[in-house]
Amino acid sequence: MSSELSILALYGLLVVLTVLLNVLTALPQVGLMTLGGPRDDMPPLTGLAGRVARTLDNSVVAMALFAPAVLILSAKGAFTAGTLFAAQIFLIARIAFVPIYAFAIPVPFLRTLVWLAGFLATVYLYLMAL
């Protein structure tokens, strides 16, 4: 298996972990009965749970963009040292993104810059796929 595909699978597992974090942080806030119920009147999550929920939403969008880029490159047999590097940057940036957002680490623009690194890495993969 190519390393880029391994990175894609690893990113999938990162999203799996973020989903679990989302459940575990929401649980003490709304309770098991609300979370396990049909959520008709579930209050918006706040604080840590709210930030984890937004992290997850952002990670899913990144996943929906990153996966096609890697799969197109794989189908075209267009992997290079550059695409491997971009995929590694993406993975590292997205791993860092989770605690930076979840704990609201107070460094100005840090979260946005880390997000931008992952985003630009994805854009690079698409350019290489063309």
Partner: protein
């Protein structure tokens, strides 16, 4: 085509069905004047989803939840296939995912507690096992 890719195609078609299951009652309840508008909150007096009946709002949330699940499942199915690691176990996981996502819809609609969460977790676990199988 591997069983994983067949299950993935069916899961994508399931999402098309979930869209229709949500959109048809939503249009009946709200009317095309609202659904075909630009859905500005200032004009609708809030978000469109909040104006749905409980049942239709459940179908809406079930569809949204499947977007997240489907993207993960697509990665799992395609990477398993491309890396030549598709086997009996990953095929079983793929069918378990599909079955869980079908059962999830009525479980959500009828507010079955805790079965909706249990069924969701089965699909989630199946995807996780497939992702892990590609790396081991």
């Amino acid at each position: 085509m591997t069983p994983e890719l067949v299950a993935l195609t069916l899961a994508a078609l399931l999402q098309v069905i979930q869209f229709a299951l949500m959109a048809i009652p939503a249009n009946i309840e709200l009317g095309p004047g609202k659904t075909m508008s630009a859905r500005d909150r200032s004009r609708l007096g809030g978000s469109l989803e909040d104006q749905l009946s409980d049942g239709t709002a459940r179908l809406y949330r079930a569809m949204n939840n499947h977007f997240e699940g489907l993207i993960l499942f697509a990665i799992a199915c395609i990477v398993v296939t491309l890396s030549g690691q598709a086997d009996g176990f990953t095929a079983l996981c793929a069918w378990a995912y599909l079955l869980a996502r079908v059962v999830y819809i009525p479980a959500y609609y009828y507010g079955l507690k805790p079965w909706r969460s249990v069924v969701w977790f089965i699909g989630f676990l199946a995807t996780t096992f497939m992702l892990l199988a590609t790396l081991l």
